[in-house]
Symmetry: D4
Subunit: 220 residues, 8 copies
């Protein structure tokens, strides 16, 4: 009993579900459709929870042949056995419409793994009244995922308003000095609002998984 | 009723405690001892919780004249009215002995704001058995703060073992390609262990405040 | 009639006042006290307006022997023949107390060259109500200089509130991912609030000079 | 009365015109044609001034179905209800022919929002007499927008000649050490000509909006 | 007798085999198929060992007309006269499935130049038990090539387990803060496991050649 | 008599030839074929020397309609009225075959403006005897242009051998840590061989023009 | 039997010697003298091989009170129980005199752990005959450690001459574009000489430890 | 006859003078005074030309005991046997007074190795008439060394005026976005004035040595 399945091209971590409450999530890029199918099949066999593949382009998704899955093109996400919505509420807030694809990944992954999600879109600080109007929605959340590109200032503004955990996701929205998301990343890391945490650029997936870890706190 | 006190040199956010459960924490660098004393006095008057000043050098601390405070030289932290230890357990894990000052700040701030803390030191991945031996301590925690410099690999290793929230703090330990902590920062952001979150380089303070936000989840 | 005075160690641009409405401002670093004295003397002789030397350390200032000057230690500024306050109103807003030295340079230079200045300190976005409370002061200004380090989000927030020119000054306040002010600089350049302009890191001087150019618009 | 219209995919800031004298300008990238159409329609209904969408590729522009708009392919700009030319004169100066697309955006946006524009092309410092010959045109302007890539030296040269506000736009023209416009950006920020201000790389839009803020000064 | 053949478009180092035990390996990018054919023919004539061309795209490989070669599409490698497997055992370990193309180049080059190779795939530290299960395979190797992207932590974990030489190859797997492989590169260079060595990003070739140099030690 | 021709889209510097001995060279990127044709026609009319357009892609070159020109596809160069070869001898040395396109631009521009050129290809330091064999050719040159990517070490080696001016051109050959030519650039700037000079990455053009300036020294 | 000793401030990896043939080497920076003494004492008790502490400043070394140690000030190294010289020969080659402190660390660590060392100093490529004259010494070595700053070209030159493993150590020698050793690091990683390996900037220690791993190959 | 003297701590390149017309120049940093003395003595014995040591701090210079030398504190240069001024004229032009120390090194090294030097100080482009007034001096030079920090625009302006070789030296003058001279370096490399060449940041020495190579052209 090794805790993994060796498929040759992959060692599937079959111990992950017992260790962390979720089966391993498959990272799509660089994998052949047949490899994805094989890993998904193994995970469906060896675990009971939701099985996800992230960052899958439509043409690849079309070639993955495991029955029962659904594909979300905006989020580029494949899901089998999605979890029922639980009591933990995550609010995904975006600074601009252009940040939506990243927010969509956060929202789709969070939903698939059993979190209850709401979305507040387009509340960038250039019109701060739009954010203040959303304060009730923010206050009802158990955690807020803030998705913002350019200068990423929304994270600081939200962080100053709410008391709950804030997970900031920098996006590569913007050009020039936006530096493909590095500017938003650095800005979020140095926020004057205390206690924000940050995940990788454009990684809606990481934010959703960080939110999932919070359920361990909620249920302790 | 504005929600702040205007001291001229500072606008103290007296609304912070009701909004986020903790009085404003004062950032020490660039402030005169008299300014620190004034802000602290105002916070003590206008709130009921712990009052902290971070990143205070010993010579400055010695000139801050508000009674009742205590100074932790390793953590460079001034504290008035520390909170009693609560039920939320934070484990601070360090990769090496040289990361201790940053971990000390995380531990001291967390303690001062009412978290229960334990420390696991020197469990870097070059001798992975040291980390595996600490697994029970990690599993008992409600959240883990991982403090590591150089390549920051401890965050990935811990993130793969525990199910709870992991807050990674990169440190500027190391030289050359360690790039003053940037390497550890980037490594933690791109960890293969899903759902880690990251705070600023050397910011034990940020990690502790992020842990504090988790108590909102614990008590919902 | 060459439009400059050749002192050997410097070519003083004596044409500057007629061209741009102000005598040349002397950049202090790397100059000997005797050189500063020589240049200042020449400028006082060959122009009629205020004469300034920036970034002068106290020990250097003490060795500059031209009568009639005054030294502002916080702003590190030497001034002769300061202009009377004019009708153009500049509001200098700072995100935190630690940004004050840079703001002080902006305020002192602006005052010395004839702008009317007001200061709004410590209105960072972590407590956005502090900024909103200052809205009247901001609205009364003909231009706002925003001085902020860390993630520099104050520039976006102010830029979204006021209609007048906003000159953003990133500061090197902060550590780690603040990157000595580069993070604030990039964030300000990519602000979601349209029409902000930005000057060099820590350059209160540049902001004041940019404000001076605005008087050409005011008086056209 | 919230000050914004919630379209689901966007919160249109309908308060912007009263706050800053111009309706919100729509950032095109990442938005679906139907979303652009919806936002534009809302802005036309809820405001009276010019409505603009920036950075729109021709194929997207062709799918935006709101009547009355015009499309400028070089500037990649969609405009409805352009403002009549006002008395404020902006001169757009370019260092080289290759900088034209960015200058075109600056010129088109400025025109659409009611500024009077002139253009001086191809006056790079490698043949400084070309710039000196344009001095009268520069002197007649209320503000100069300098558009330059490579080493961006034109900004310094113009900044030394005129007394009015100078807004420098670095472009990504050049290769290798031009670093996609970062070199020009940094060079403009460190110009030896005092009081220049800088906007994001390739952002003719930002420069025009900064010029619009100057009209608040002109009309005070 | 110059030690090289001057083909006009290339100076083939015909002395390399006597100097270093292997003919020159040809770097494919930027070379015309006819040039590759010419260089390969010359090397086959003037040496006795294996002849390799790296980083060859399939369409180029199809146009190289020298008989006797074989092409490995995953490794993008052309080989003539591969060496028989020797006694030196190299284990190629990968962190994830997406790192396989780089590992494939390392494995294919190593095999072609006479090393005995084994492969351990997908043993990233997020599931450390997968790596510990491979310990016997690692211990049997004379050298380990670790191929990892993202945060590259596998190199540290392997480096702490084995006593033999470890050659770390960072890959460009990952996005955002992975910085096209720079993060893994820096992380491997600053590993807390002592005595690791590192080669260029994505360079399976360099790792194999470094392993070849180890055979000089084995046979001394 | 202004010293330039204003074509609207360009100000052609017609004074350049008298000032610097060569007509202005046209930078191709970002210009329309009709613009190129117009500028070239003007230069042919207003000067007597060679007229060049650099960095022209084949499809653009085909649309430039000015008679008498020739196009070099490798060098991406259009030339009218090439100069006869003069007595100044430039040797272009390349580290590898992949550096040839950049070297070709240097060679073609140098030839077109009247320098006598020789080429020494593929003398990288990994087989230093290949360079030493070329020493006579290097010694016969009045100046050496060294073209090298990757680590750029050829510049140091040549710089240590010859006494004449060495102009180093870093190329973007290589991958990963080659950083698109930045590594070679920095390496050449910090060469232990004294008195090397460096031009922009991939700029064979700049090297040739720098060599042309040397003819002013040769003919003084 | 845990394989480590928990001293509170450190977990000493007492299993290291059996795993990798050498006791853990102590990294000095950030440790108190008493902590160093405690760790060293524990290592002396629990292992039989040499015990080393690296990067120890003289004032700290003077406070470490464990008998039997010796201190090398140039190498900043503390050593107890140095190993007798073995049969494995390492040649340390330096590009310039200024690289000596780093080379000294490599040489001192290598000697202390039982390698036989020779040194070839000051053979930079600006005078390539100095290196060629040292060829016999290089050829006699089982491995070469190349220590070079600035452009680091010595690594390529040595790598092209010898067949044995080459471990390149970039140093922070040089200024400006040397970028504190980053230039040499990148240059060594992209060397045209195949099969070089690289360690961290200024890390003579890492190079010596990498050489030690080679003895596992030599003795297999 | 090896062409070098092996002093143990250094291999003095005694062949340099015959190869390149000048004895080796000693790089001071990191060398002990006794080592400098030894190398200088050897060079004086084994060559006939000027002997120089660069970047020597005053306290080190005072300990170098070889008779006949002189020390220039501004240039930090030690010289023995300076050459008589030759016919080659180098003009050193500086953008600002603060660039003088770098220019002083260029001027002092150039003088010591036999070039005739003139200096034009403080001709930055913010007052372009100061540069135009110096045009005759520039035109009389055989080569111009341009020394400038901040945005380095002087190099472009000079490069557009003169026909002779221009060697640009970026300096670390400036702060913030000046990036310790990197901004000026990149700007000079991407100058719109064709045929400029560039040396390392703050390296007046390199510029002077590059000028010396030009004398090989002048005397051919």
């Amino acid at each position: 009993m090794t805790g993994f399945s060796d498929l040759g091209y992959a060692r599937v971590d079959t111990d992950r579900e017992s260790r962390q409450g979720l089966p391993e999530v498959v990272y799509g890029p660089g994998k052949q459709p047949a490899e994805i199918s094989g890993i998904v099949t193994e995970l469906l066999d060896r675990s009971t929870g939701p099985v996800l593949v992230t960052r899958v382009e439509p043409d690849v998704a079309a070639q993955v042949s495991v029955p029962g899955g659904s594909y979300d093109e905006t989020a580029r996400l494949l899901v089998w056995r999605p979890a029922a919505p639980g009591s933990f509420r995550v609010c995904v807030a975006t600074a601009g419409t252009s940040d939506w694809p990243v927010a969509a990944e956060a929202e789709a992954v969070a939903s698939a793994i059993g979190l209850s999600t709401t979305v507040v879109r387009d509340v960038g600080v250039a019109g701060i009244h739009r954010l203040l109007a959303a304060r009730d929605e923010l206050d009802r959340a158990d955690a807020v995922i803030v998705v913002a590109g350019m200068e990423g200032a929304l994270a600081s503004a939200v962080g100053g308003l709410v008391a709950c955990p804030v997970i900031a996701v920098p996006t590569s929205t913007g050009y020039g000095a936006a530096m493909e998301g590095v500017t938003a990343l650095l800005a979020m890391l140095t926020s004057c609002a205390a206690g924000l945490t940050v995940v990788n650029i454009d990684s809606g997936f990481s934010a959703a998984m960080a939110a999932h870890r919070l359920t361990a706190v909620a249920s302790r």
